[in-house]
């Protein structure tokens, strides 16, 4: 029946009749056109984009339930654009990405990507000294508090990225209105012209930046100042130390 329909109604039903190999091939073609520049021809990483064969999101994806929303909505803070794809196109892309993941996992060597073992070259002791001394990390962080189990929650590369700059960290905004009233909440938006926060009730409120006074308390920005000061040894020592923090608090 299916093959009969495929022959008689080629325009309407041709795509759903594709076999798995054809679906993967269609996905490969689409991936080359739209995705390969950032994620690499083999999906193992290119300019800017991560290696999808080792992506946690891809690993957890079932038939596009995780990949689909990212493809269709994009990710504003990482530069991932949104793509207007049909269900069939998405299914092909997802099939291709999963095929590449399986292929990559079956290969020895010739792999790009970063292993946690690669990142253990520093000295734990020196990293601890830097944490408590020069880096002044202890002013905000504690190995038995917020950082307990940090190495369990993040793989090596993710930990290294977050150590350098914790993308998406929350900050607190206080807005003083012309009336003198002051509103405090989580920073929701800020540019030259508009400021916005989420107040205690979860409501989004925005103002013309020129009409109010807004101050932002963003402790994570201290990471930016360190970027200009780190030596590569500092980073590797810190990594060695942080990788020892693999036990969650009970």
């Amino acid at each position: 029946m299916v093959s009969f329909l495929c022959r008689t109604l080629p325009i309407v039903l041709a795509l759903p009749c594709l076999g798995r190999a054809q679906t993967v091939e269609a996905g490969r073609s689409q991936f080359q056109q739209q995705c390969a520049f950032c994620h690499g021809k083999d999906s193992a990483g290119g300019e800017d984009g991560p290696d999808l064969t080792r992506s946690k999101l891809v690993a957890e994806d079932v038939k596009g339930d995780k990949i689909g929303p990212v493809v269709r909505n994009g990710r504003a803070n990482t530069g991932m654009p949104r793509f207007n794809v049909s269900d069939q196109e998405l299914a092909s892309l997802v099939a291709f990405i999963h095929t590449q993941k399986t292929l990559a996992e079956s290969q020895n060597g010739k792999r790009r990507g970063v292993e946690t073992a690669d990142l253990r070259t520093g000295s734990v002791e020196k990293g601890k000294q830097y944490f408590n001394g020069t880096g002044n990390c202890a002013a905000c962080h504690s190995p038995t508090g917020d950082l307990a189990g940090v190495a369990k929650r993040n793989d090596g590369l993710k930990l290294m990225e977050r150590l350098m700059y914790p993308r998406g960290a929350k900050s607190k905004m206080t807005v003083t209105l012309p009336s003198g009233e002051s509103v405090t909440g989580e920073t929701a938006y800020q540019d030259e012209f508009t400021v916005a926060l989420k107040d205690a009730s979860g409501r989004y409120r925005s103002w013309d930046a020129s009409k109010v006074k807004a101050t932002v308390d963003a402790p994570a920005e201290a990471h930016v100042e360190l970027l200009a000061k780190y030596t590569d040894d500092d980073i590797h020592n810190l990594m060695a130390y942080l990788l020892t923090l693999d036990k969650e608090n009970k």
Partner: protein
């Protein structure tokens, strides 16, 4: 009276002839006939209707929706009242007065990289368009029909094309992209009538040459000095990209600024912005040509804010270096050699446990145009102070990317650089991650650009103060243009897949 009418009709007839060599040398106010507007790459206009005083009244004249999710990365072309814009596989002809579509050309589906299309060029009434699968297509500007289609490079090997071809005399000059395979870079000159190759310049030796680099792609439109008869072109990074072991030495002519004879393609001089690059820092950013005093002596100069974080001022006749300085955080060089070229620090090459590098792979700036304002002597650039981590290990091999890198932090800043010293006269914060918008300046003392969160900005050139803005709902990934039609000045910007035309209210 009849004679006068005949003359007027004759003049109008001449005006509708597409581009002419004279027009490309001295673009009239009612045109933007090439990628940069003129040959200098300054992206500066002599128009003065929109001023610092009245720009606050500027509003939308029209918008054109491409209906695509692909972000526009082209610089529009304007000839005879018609704008030509592009996205990969697509060319639109749009009425520059009203924004309505005149025709649309769609190239057949193909497997090339659909990463961007930076615009078309025009020779007479013919349009030249490059495709994701490395073809050069000649279209009739009147209706978008295909005249011919030639292969510039073999897309099956991994080449693709994105650039707006450059027209000099009877040469259509085209470059190529291709970082994911070890391919040699080249620049070609093609006959505008027949598509036949006139000359070819190879920026690197053929793939497979022992100990030699590949790469040196030629993916951005160059600039031209008609008096010196020199063509200036930037070349891209070497391949393999993140590991340099297989390509010892400087890797000429990758990451370089080249001066070529446009008649023959022969190289006259070269300057290498990044010897032995291992960070993907193409030196294809616009080589901007400026005639002005340098420390009291009149000079014909070439200036580039390079992706690697360095600002170079060269004598463009000889290639002599006049100034080398940084325009933001950089940490990958040990100094500058006697030719004015940065000396790469081997300790900052990608490594198995990662190296912290400033700027990140996107660079301190990228392909969108900067602008030079002659009155203030300011070089205005969209900068991206940033850090990334770079990895490479033997298991990554020595083909194509051969490593991995991750941006960790960045922001956008518009910088006004005094070209005589390299010092910042002022800076203007553009927001988190980076803006990536091109810059246009005008003789009235205005800058048009975009911020990191989707606003179009008009700033005062002298001090960088914001005078006008509008939220455009998407980031500007192109460079603005301006023109005057029927006595009205328009500024054209893009955001996402939409083209916006801004003007003062009609009287």
């Amino acid at each position: 009276m009849r004679i006068l009418i005949t003359l007027l009709v004759g003049a109008a007839g001449l005006l509708a002839q597409g581009t002419t060599p004279d027009m490309l040398l001295k673009p009239p106010a009612d045109s933007w006939p090439a990628y940069h507007g003129d040959y200098s790459g300054r992206r500066h206009s002599s128009l003065t209707q929109i001023t610092p005083e009245n720009v606050r009244n500027m509003g939308l004249a029209w918008a054109f929706q491409t209906g695509q999710t692909q972000t526009l990365k082209c610089s529009p072309l304007l000839v005879d009242g018609v704008l030509y814009i592009t996205a990969p596989d697509n060319v639109w002809a749009v009425d520059a007065r009203s924004g309505h579509q005149i025709w649309h050309y769609a190239y057949p589906k193909n497997d090339g990289f659909h990463i961007g299309s930076r615009g078309v060029s025009m020779y007479g009434n013919w349009i030249y368009f490059m495709t994701p699968d490395a073809k050069l297509i000649c279209l009739n500007s009147k209706d978008g029909t295909v005249r011919w289609n030639i292969a510039v490079a073999d897309s099956a090997k991994g080449y693709w094309t994105t650039m707006s071809p450059m027209i000099i005399g009877n040469h259509v000059i085209v470059g190529v992209s291709g970082d994911f395979d070890n391919l040699n870079g080249f620049l070609k000159s093609v006959d505008p009538e027949t598509g036949k190759t006139q000359w070819r310049f190879d920026s690197t030796p053929p793939a497979g040459t022992p100990d030699a680099t590949t790469g040196g792609m030629t993916w951005m439109t160059g600039t031209y000095d008609p008096a010196a008869k020199l063509l200036y072109w930037g070349t891209g990074n070497p391949t393999p990209v993140l590991t340099g072991k297989k390509r010892p030495g400087d890797d000429l002519y990758t990451c370089s600024i080249l001066a070529l004879d446009p008649e023959t393609g022969k190289m006259v001089w070269h300057f290498q912005a990044s010897p032995h690059d291992t960070h993907d820092w193409d030196a294809v950013e616009i080589p901007v040509l400026v005639d002005a005093d340098f420390h009291g002596t009149p000079r014909k100069m070439l200036m580039q804010t390079s992706r690697n974080g360095y600002f170079f001022v060269l004598d463009r006749i000889t290639g002599e270096n006049l100034l080398t300085t940084t325009f933001g955080p950089t940490n990958w060089a040990t100094g500058v050699d006697k030719k004015g070229q940065p000396i790469p620090n081997p300790a900052k090459e990608p490594a198995p446990d990662g190296r912290l590098i400033a700027p990140d792979e996107g660079g301190l700036t990228n392909y969108r145009s900067p602008s030079f304002d002659p009155k203030t002597g300011l070089f205005i650039v969209d900068a991206h102070p940033s850090y990334g981590i770079y990895f490479a290990k033997p298991a990554d091999g020595d083909f194509g990317w051969a490593g991995a890198d991750y941006g960790v932090w960045g922001k956008g800043v518009l910088e006004a650089i005094d070209y005589q010293t390299g010092k910042m006269r002022w800076t203007h914060e553009l927001g988190p991650n980076g803006a990536g918008a091109g810059v246009l300046t005008t003789d009235s003392g205005l800058i048009f650009t975009g911020d990191a969160q989707g606003s179009v900005l008009a700033l005062r050139t002298s001090d960088g103060k914001t005078l006008w803005h509008a939220g455009a709902g998407g980031s500007m990934q192109s460079s603005p243009i301006t023109y005057e039609l029927d006595g009205r000045q328009y500024v054209v910007t893009s955001a996402g897949g939409v083209l916006f035309s801004w003007a003062l209210p009609e009287r």
